[in-house]
């Protein structure tokens, strides 16, 4: 039951950011893999995230110091990282490729360095 609730929540989350490269989760899909990411001035602790095409993942994002943004423009997916909370961004990429992510809230001197890449593999 809990798993179903998680999937429904993830589906709701993904529908809010749905782009042409992501697809909603369906009931019966395996539980999304969780990937923790910490954003702090001025880097993401993971510069590269690897997922498989069609794999449902939930990015669990947190920040200790600023309302950083986490955005993957090519997937039309983004979320604000509120310090003191963990926020979740559900993804199910449908196309192989390398998709850059960035902090899209201006956070200071090293803002432009807060980038990384989501690698979607077969």
């Amino acid at each position: 039951m809990r798993r179903l609730a998680v999937q429904i929540a993830a589906t709701a989350a993904i529908c809010g950011v749905a782009g042409y490269l992501v697809a909603p989760l369906a009931i019966g899909d395996p539980a999304p893999r969780r990937i923790r990411i910490v954003a702090a001035k001025f880097a993401f602790d993971k510069r590269e995230i690897r997922v498989r095409k069609g794999e449902a993942v939930t990015l669990q994002l947190s920040s200790p110091d600023f309302v950083h943004g986490f955005s993957i423009p090519d997937l039309d997916a983004r979320i604000d990282l509120v310090p003191g909370r963990t926020v979740e961004l559900a993804l199910k990429p449908q196309r192989v490729g390398r998709f850059g992510f960035l902090c899209d809230n201006f956070c200071g001197e090293g803002h432009d360095r807060m980038t990384g890449v989501l690698v979607v593999e077969e």
Binding site: V67, L102, F106, C107, G108, E109, D112
Partner: protein
């Protein structure tokens, strides 16, 4: 023709049928500059952008401390004096130190005071204002973060998409914009000045305003609208519907255009061509139909 199109410098020159530095006009969203009309008033203004005072990287600009002075001297040397100069944001290089931020703004202001023009307008970029929501900017430079002014029959609208850490205008400002536009005639000449592009030029490099489309939609009923902005540190021309959007070169350092580098890149100084890629622009405008003619000016030695 697509609803939204990017125009290259070559396109502009071809459309305008001119070479050299002066181009534009004859584009979607641009009525003919200087067309007949009773009581029309023509004038020029200068756009300076992305001064980034306090920037320090000699590989990119070894003349950083003198570059603004060079731009000011070039404007002051214009044969036809502009009616005003507008700085379109990022007056200073960002710093996490609030005292240094104020010091840089003061030093910038002192140098800008050397402009020999009747009026200088300022507004902020994210480097000046995002970390404190414009507090230091307003303390040192003064004035509101978004505002309007009228000049010789042209309505200028300054939009703030940088004082929030998020690249947004915000609902309150968009409502303010709609209220301001509501009192204008559909053929009123309108010039919008802002820092970030209002359209999604390239969100992958933070070259967008998240809710900029709302502003563009509000402007769409008006036939003579042109947008001038900065932020991307190179010349760029784009059209949404009939509205032209024109990014200016930076004063301090150039950035690679979209498609020319895998990452947003500050272009290195070329000793063989100092100040290459740095510049400013002069704009000829008219109350007869907001038909700006743009003259791009390089800081490079000729």
């Amino acid at each position: 023709m697509n609803d939204q199109q990017r125009y290259t410098r070559r396109d502009f020159m071809r459309l305008a049928g001119v070479g050299g530095l002066v181009f534009a006009s004859g584009l979607p969203g641009c009525a003919e500059f200087g067309q007949a009309g009773s009581g029309k008033q023509d004038f020029t203004f200068v756009q300076l952008s992305d001064v980034h005072w306090g920037y320090a990287n000699p590989k990119v600009n070894p003349e950083a401390s003198g570059t603004l002075k060079r731009a000011v001297a070039a404007v002051n040397a214009l044969e036809q004096k502009p009616d005003f100069v507008v700085f379109t944001g990022d007056l200073t290089q960002t710093t996490d130190d609030a005292k240094v931020r104020r010091q840089r703004l003061r030093e910038f202001k002192e140098q800008a005071a050397a402009l020999a023009v009747p009026k200088v307008w300022f507004f902020q970029g994210e480097h000046d204002a995002s970390l404190d929501r414009g507090e230091a900017y307003q303390e040192v430079i003064g004035g509101p973060l978004y505002y309007t002014f009228d000049h010789k029959g042209v309505h200028f609208i300054v939009l703030d998409n940088t004082s929030d850490p998020a690249p947004i205008l915000g609902e309150r400002q968009i409502e303010w914009l709609k209220a301001d536009l509501a009192r204008l005639a559909p053929d009123a000449p309108i010039v919008v000045l802002t820092h970030r592009p209002l359209f999604a030029l390239y969100p992958q490099w933070d070259w967008a305003t998240r809710d900029g489309q709302a502003a563009i939609q509000a402007l769409m009923p008006y036939r003579n609208v042109t947008v001038f902005y900065g932020h991307i540190h190179h010349e760029n021309h784009y059209v949404t519907g009939h509205i032209g959007h024109h990014a200016a070169m930076a004063v301090m350092f150039p950035l690679s255009p979209v498609g020319t580098a895998p990452q947003k890149t500050q272009l290195p100084w070329n000793p063989a061509q100092p100040y290459q890629g740095l510049g400013w622009r002069s704009v000829a405008a008219s109350s007869a139909g907001a038909a700006p003619t743009i003259s791009e000016r390089t800081l490079a030695k000729s």
